[in-house]
Amino acid sequence: MRVDEDKCIACKRCFPYCPLGRIQILRRHPKIPGRVYIEIDQDKCTDCGMCFRANVCAVDALYQPAEPWPREVRAILSNPLIEYKGSQVPGRGTEEMKTNDVTGRFRPGEVGIGIELGRPGVAAYFREVEVVAMALAPLGYEMAEENPVTQFMSDRKTGKLRDDILNERATSAIIEGKCRSSRWRSSQRFLPRGRFPSFLFWRGWDTNIPSTARITWGWESRPFSSMNRRHNGGRP
C-alpha cells in the first residue's frame, strides 16, 4: 500500500486500521512548505489493503499499485479478497478439511497438520516460513500441492523456498500438508509437554523465529467407507 504524498494531509485516520500496528512514518513534504505526509514502511507493509478498504481517507491519498514479482506475493497471502489461482480458494490455504466429506483428502491413518505463521496481526517473513518448512520436511510430511507456500518452494523435499521471496512478508503463510498418524504419535514424545503435534515445530521454535505460528490439525473421525456411503455414493 502506498500514499500519494501530494494528497496526504497526515490526519492519521488510517493508522488504527492497520492490522500490523504502527508501520507509518510522518515525513515533511519536500516541495510544499509546512506540509506533512504519511509514508508507509514498505518493508513492513504486507499489502493487505485494509487501510484502503476501511475508506477513511478523506483525500483519497491511499492507493495500491500493481506490484511486480516477488512483491506481489505479499498481497496474495495477505489480502483476503485476492484468490490464489493455484488453490482457487480466496485466502492463504486450501480447502483443507472443509470438503473432506467428498474429497477424502485425509484418510484413516492420516493426520493433516497446518502451521500458520504470522497471524494474528504479527506477520512473517518467508525466511521464517522456510525455517519451519525445512524442519518439517524430514518427518515424511506431505505438502499440500495447491497451497501457495508449497508452490513457492524450490525444493519440496527439503522445504526450501525460492530465494527471491525470502525477504517478502505476509500477514499469514500456511504450511499445509499431512503425514501418517503413526509418525504423529511417535513425534509426540519429543514434545515439551507431550501433547503438541510436532517436535519439528518445536525445533523451528527453538531457532528463535521472530514471529508467531499457530498449529492446527485435523483428521477424519469416521471410517472412510461409511463416509462414502452416506455422502458421495462411493466416490473416493
Partner: protein, 214 residues
C-alpha cells in the same frame, strides 16, 4: 476453517459463537456450484445469522444480502455467523432435509457442536480440525482481552489499535457498543465477526482500558 479457529476465549464466552460455512469441493462439485451455494445462503439467511458474507464480496454490514447472492460464483465459499445455539440447530435440521449439495462446516466448541449434531440426528462429527494454540514470539501479540475481539476476524483484518480507538470513541460518547461492533464487522469482509460477542467483549473491556493513543 483455520481462520475461525483463531478465536480466543473461555468456554462461557464461546458457547454461543458458531460459524457455519458452505464450501464446494474443487474437482468434485465446484463446477455448477453457484446455485447450490445461493440456496445454502438463502436457507442460512432465513435462520437469522448475526453476520453473513462471502470473502470476495463482503458481509451484510458492507453490502446487502442481494448483492452477496448476486455475486456468488462457482467455488465461492460463504460463511454465516450465529450467536445462538438454537438457530444453528434449526438451520442444520433444514439443511439436512434440503441437502444443499455442498460441504457444510460448523465451527464452534467441539462438544457443543457434537451436541447439536446429536440433536439434529447427524451422528458423529465427520472430520475435526483443532487449533493447538499459538507458539513462538507470543510477546508480540496484543493483550489477550484485545485478541478475544480481533481474532473473531480470522484473517486478522481487525487491528488491535482499532479496538483501542473504538473503546476511546465509546468512552467519549461518539459511538455506542453496537456501532463499534459494526465498525469491526465491516473490517472482517468474510462475515466471521460475531457482533453480539464483540459488543459484549467491548463492554467488559470498557472499565479496564484507558486509551490515550491517536
Amino acid at each position: 476453517m483455520t481462520h475461525s479457529l483463531h478465536r480466543r476465549g473461555d468456554r462461557e464466552s464461546l458457547k454461543e459463537d458458531f460459524v457455519v460455512l458452505g464450501c464446494p469441493a474443487t474437482g468434485v462439485n465446484k463446477k455448477g456450484s453457484a446455485p447450490k451455494t445461493r440456496e445454502f445462503l438463502r436457507i442460512c439467511w432465513k435462520h437469522g445469522p448475526i453476520n453473513l458474507g462471502d470473502m470476495k464480496t463482503g458481509n451484510t454490514y458492507n453490502t446487502t444480502i442481494d448483492d452477496i447472492l448476486d455475486r456468488v460464483t462457482d467455488g465461492t465459499i460463504v460463511q454465516c455467523t450465529f450467536d445462538n445455539r438454537e438457530r444453528v440447530v434449526s438451520l442444520l435440521k433444514e439443511l439436512k432435509e434440503k441437502k444443499p449439495g455442498i460441504s457444510v462446516i460448523v465451527s464452534g466448541v467441539t462438544d457443543i457442536v457434537q451436541g447439536i449434531m446429536d440433536e439434529v440426528g447427524l451422528g458423529r462429527i465427520h472430520t475435526v480440525e483443532y487449533s493447538m494454540g499459538t507458539w513462538g514470539k507470543t510477546d508480540k501479540l496484543p493483550d489477550f482481552e484485545v485478541l478475544k475481539v480481533t481474532t473473531m476476524c480470522g484473517h486478522a483484518m481487525i487491528a488491535s489499535d482499532l479496538v483501542g480507538k473504538l473503546i476511546r470513541d465509546i468512552k467519549r460518547g461518539r459511538k455506542t457498543l453496537k456501532e463499534a461492533s459494526q465498525e469491526m464487522a465491516k473490517c472482517c469482509t468474510c462475515g466471521n465477526f460475531n457482533l453480539t460477542r464483540g459488543a459484549q467483549l467491548l463492554g467488559e473491556m470498557l472499565p479496564l482500558y484507558v486509551v490515550n493513543r491517536y
